[in-house]
Amino acid sequence: MGAAMESVIDIEGLSLTFTRDGQRNEVLRGLDLSVPRGAFIAIVGSSGVGKSTLLRVLIGLATASSGTVKITPRPGQRQPLALVFQDSRLLPWRSVVDNVAFGLEGGGLSRAERRAKAREALEIVGLSHLADRWPHQLSGGQRQRVSLARALAVEPEVLLMDEPFSALDAITREGLQDELVRIWQLTGKTVLFVTHDIEEATYLADRVVVLAGSPGRVVADQILDAPRPRRRSQSQEPDLVAGIRQHISGETMVDGTGI
């Protein structure tokens, strides 16, 4: 149990302020979050609350104004984090397999070794048969699977997912949600999943962190222990969903009166 509780990401007092066109825009203030190894954490909140910004800070696309982020990878981990973008952001000039192999470049592997690893990752997301296609030949759901495979290929400790299914139709989205849970259970990765969809968060995660307010901060942090596989027909924790909803709306309606 001790090893399981060891945290892979520790965020303390994280604040971030943008200055754009002379306008100061405080996005996050004093955010604390500890991510245990192997957890599936959903970060929920309305748009503009800084959920995506948090992931961008973790992956190094944005710089925090203050606070500390400590990432503790397993020894020998080349790339501890990998990000799956909301839009798949495949490189259109690379075939599917070479897109998946992208993150492996510069790591001392030969082209053949990189492709072999990429094919393994494609196997996990069930797309080996499309390895030689071009991105424009794929459907939206397939593109997002390839994007997930690209992140998995670098064998990261943590998968950061930025509303990865929000642009997909409902049927594809549900298929990919189940796929993600299966992959999480199969690989034992830590998942940090950002979404504005509370149902999605409670269906997927075993812990839901709610961000609200402007600047955004953590207003609720709930453990979900509903057994898996979960049912989708009715939410297994209606009280919880209602509670989260209240946290979010409470913060947006009456600014600054959260918990």
């Binding site: 190094g60 952001r89 490189l91 510069g106």
Partner: protein, 268 residues
């Protein structure tokens, strides 16, 4: 007019793709045949002095004579030499400049006024300097050609690099590829390739114009041969070289389009 179009439109059945393609080739051939026919008729009917406009029927004989004397091969190989080297030098320098100013604000800001001063100067205006610096030599011709090519490729590359989607650059950043070198080769160059190739293709045509301009002042090649022929009123020979250039350009452009199609095979 409106009546005929309206009534004929529904009568025409939707052509099948294969037939449609055949029809277009047929029309193009018919158009060309008509063009040659009119051209032939003008001097023959005495509407034009044959000295000023040679009929197409006299072209093959002129071409044959020029081929026999070896002048054609000499002119073509000399011009192709100027063309190839000028194109290569201009393209490489234009590409380097365009990439540098596309990637670096500093480089762009520092060069912006220099570019504004030099850009509007036409290639021909460089002829005096070309002669002073290089003499009447192939290097002078290469210089003139390279200048024209440089600007086309420079602006194409600059614009294409500048226009690369920031989101794709973020992908490289997110996977830890943050050096300028990694960005350039993993994202910027491949993403900018369509725009760069458009510039190169434009340069491919533009360089032929520069070849003639560069050779007119006496560097051996097609251009010089054309000027010689025109001063002797051997207009059929001028036409021979005009068609030679058109054929060479057509050939190179066809090869280029094929290569371009292969390089950009990832495009939808």
């Amino acid at each position: 007019m409106t009546d005929t179009t309206l009534s004929s439109a529904p009568a025409a059945p939707p052509a099948r793709p294969a037939l449609d393609g055949l029809r277009r080739v047929g029309l193009a051939a018919a158009g060309l045949a008509l063009f040659i026919l009119v051209w032939e008729a003008l001097p023959r009917l005495g509407l034009f002095n044959p000295m000023l406009l040679p009929a197409p029927s006299v072209i093959p004989a002129a071409f044959w004579a020029e081929l026999q004397s070896g002048a054609w091969a000499a002119a073509v190989s000399a011009s192709l030499g100027h063309y190839t080297i000028g194109l290569a030098v201009g393209s490489v320098l234009g590409l380097l400049g365009g990439i540098a100013t596309g990637m670096s604000r500093l480089a762009e800001d520092m060069t912006s006024w220099v570019v504004r001063v030099l850009r509007p100067i036409p290639g021909l205006a460089w002829v005096p300097f070309a002669i002073i610096w290089f003499g009447v030599s192939p290097s002078a011709a290469v210089f003139i050609i390279a200048i024209g090519v440089f600007w086309i490729v420079f602006f194409a590359a600059h614009g294409a690099i500048r226009g690369v989607d920031r989101d794709l650059i973020e992908v490289a950043d997110a996977f830890g590829f943050r050096s300028g070198h990694e960005r350039l080769f993993k994202i910027l160059l491949p993403a900018a390739m369509p725009g760069i190739l458009v510039g190169l293709r434009t340069a491919l045509g533009q360089a032929w114009m520069a070849v003639v301009a560069a050779e007119i002042f006496g560097v051996p090649g097609l251009g010089q041969r054309m000027i010689q022929a025109s001063s002797l009123l051997a207009t059929e020979l001028v036409v021979v070289y005009m068609l030679t250039m058109a054929a060479l350009y057509g050939l190179l452009d066809t090869v280029f389009v094929a290569v371009q199609g292969w390089v950009l095979r990832w495009k939808a």
